[in-house]
């Protein structure tokens, strides 16, 4: 099998040369078909965006037909489901703001410190323990954070502040802060790591301590990406739903108090959806008024954040 037939077998494989170089068909239908399928799939993403914008726009338009947009944006009473109806969205905005402010107040400093530690100081083994922990923290569903706020954070806080209500902005803000901490720290970590090592070495060679290098070189050099991280985190905290629904309550108010029950924009949408609201009714439409505001704000934040992120990446 090895030697005797070898020559014959090698010859057998040779084919007549001189195959035509010309195209047999002008268009290769398989290539066209594949490209068509792939671009159809891609168009779905465009379709999704368009549908979101059209849907929210249409329903919000119907809503603002009934309620003047000025009353909606500047009114300080939100009471759309019971008589006498009031459609001022500001209490919901205040609720959302309280949660965003508190969560950013927690996530931003902690996130920057964690990122500084991971990118500047941590040895490889420590990094490879802390990073997965943060990833797990990021992967925990928001409903779990809501539960944690309700059954752990609030009772602890109530020992500190006896006046605190069962549902309150503080515990919701704290858990949302914990929730977005991994996102902030990983975005900051990326930002710090993107600073050119030559720049840092220049600082060290002038005799600066690592703290001075961080304050004087790394922080300013990554300012744009830090800002982008903050913006994206705010957008995320604003859109957060289940944790605030569970922990912050359903009482729209304008009191700017962390100790009281509030309602965020997202929590309102959930409240309406849980009740059996008929399509087209006013309550249903209020949902879209709030959603339009929420989508508008997060859209602007996302576009801005994405831009700043890329601006320094290039």
């Amino acid at each position: 099998m090895e030697s005797g037939t070898k020559a014959a077998r090698l010859e057998l494989v040779e084919e007549p040369v001189g195959e035509l170089l010309l195209r047999r068909q002008w268009v290769n239908y398989k290539d066209v078909l594949l490209k068509l399928c792939l671009s159809l799939a891609t168009s779905l993403t465009v379709l999704t965006t368009c549908t979101i914008v059209l849907l929210i726009g249409k329903e919000a338009f119907a809503f603002f037909h009934m309620v003047s947009i000025v009353d909606f944006l500047l009114g300080t009473q939100w009471q759309p489901l019971i008589e006498p109806q009031q459609y001022g969205v500001l209490p919901l905005v205040v609720g959302s703001t309280l949660v965003v402010v508190l969560s950013m107040g927690i996530a931003l400093p902690l996130g920057v410190f964690v990122a500084a530690y991971l990118s500047e100081y941590a040895s490889f083994p420590i990094r490879s323990v802390v990073k997965p922990f943060l990833e797990i923290l990021a992967g925990i569903p928001t409903v779990v954070y809501g539960y944690f706020a309700l059954t752990f954070v609030t009772p602890q806080l109530q020992q500190l502040f006896p006046a605190m209500e069962v549902f309150n902005a503080a515990s919701a803000g704290i858990v949302v802060g914990i929730m977005i901490l991994p996102m902030v720290s990983s975005l900051c970590d990326d930002a710090f790591c993107a600073v050119a090592p030559e720049l840092k070495e220049a600082g060290y060679s002038l005799g600066a301590t690592s703290y001075e290098v961080f304050r004087g070189i790394v922080l300013p050099a990554s300012a744009f990406r830090l800002a982008a991280a903050v913006i994206l985190a705010v957008s995320r905290a604003l859109g957060e739903t289940m944790a605030v629904t569970l922990a912050a309550g359903a009482t729209p108010n304008m009191e700017w108090s962390f100790l009281k029950s509030i309602q965020t924009m997202t929590a309102y949408i959930v409240e309406v959806s849980l009740g059996d609201t008929p399509a087209g009714g006013v309550a249903y439409l209020t949902c879209y008024g709030v959603a339009a505001l929420l989508f508008g704000i997060t859209f602007v934040l996302n576009v801005l954040g994405y831009r700043w992120m890329r601006r320094t990446a290039e």
């Binding site: 035509l20 170089l21 195209r23």
Partner: protein
């Protein structure tokens, strides 16, 4: 279109330009059938660019513009009615770094014939290609193991076998030994010497001694232009152009 029958590939006034600069300018040359031609020159002189334009590998980079003709079997390869995949089937290529597919050794060879619906017994084809590439004895007991388990030199020979499986007329080699150790290099050089009986081979190399060892003809390029083309013995003993002589003597490059 008149082509002297001894030309396997004839390049006529070929220019290649990238978005910002011209890499190859007005090169005209005739590569003889069943000979080994070496393309030499200092790095960045357009050797690889020239080689890649011979089997239309520039088609995938929209910033590259090619003008001029490459005549193969009385056809201009850049003609409108030409089917580029068929061009690449007939004019095979081996790359600088060994790039086997992350599949088994067997599949690496059989993939090309398979997608091109080539007839014939696949086992025989694989065996004959591996034999021609002097790899059969080393891998015959592990044809179905991953090609990535081979050494660098073996991988490069596998890549040559893979190109042979398409039964090409011309094989383009883009610095095939630059990533290999001396022993594997020697092995590939022997292989090239064997293959020239059946194939026309074009080798880009930055190693002048290698060009001297393996080639019949030498093409010296400098800054995108063809400086001198001729039989290896002549180029290395009595170059006509002063620049060639200077390069061969190691005065620059």
């Amino acid at each position: 279109m008149n082509v002297t029958p001894s030309c396997a590939l004839e390049v006529k006034g070929l220019s290649v330009s990238y978005a910002s600069h011209r890499a190859v300018e007005e090169v005209s040359v005739c590569f003889r059938r069943h000979r080994v031609a070496a393309i030499i020159g200092p790095s960045g002189c357009g050797k690889s660019t020239l080689l890649r334009s011979l089997n239309r590998m520039h088609d995938f980079d929209p910033t590259v513009k090619v003008s001029g003709q490459v005549v193969f079997e009385n056809q201009d390869l850049y003609g409108r009615e030409i089917h580029p995949p068929t061009v690449r089937k007939r004019i095979g290529m081996v790359f600088q770094k060994p790039n086997p597919f992350p599949k088994s050794i067997y599949k690496n060879i059989s993939w090309g014939p398979w997608i091109n619906h080539m007839r014939g017994d696949m086992d025989q084809r694989v065996e004959s290609c591996l034999r021609k590439a002097a790899l059969w004895d080393e891998v015959k007991h592990r044809l179905h193991q991953s090609a990535l388990s081979l050494s660098g030199g073996q991988q490069q020979r596998l890549c040559i076998a893979r190109a042979l499986a398409m039964n090409p007329d011309v094989i383009l080699m883009d610095e095939p030994c630059s990533a290999l150790d001396p022993r594997s290099t020697a092995c590939i050089e022997d292989l090239i010497a064997d293959l020239r009986e059946k194939y026309t081979i074009l080798v880009v190399t930055h190693n002048m001694q290698q060009a001297k060892r393996i080639s019949d003809d030498v093409l010296f390029m400098y800054e995108g232009r063809l400086v001198e083309f001729g039989p290896t013995t002549q180029i290395f003993s009595q170059p006509r152009v002063a620049q060639t002589q200077a390069y061969i003597q190691g005065k620059f490059g």
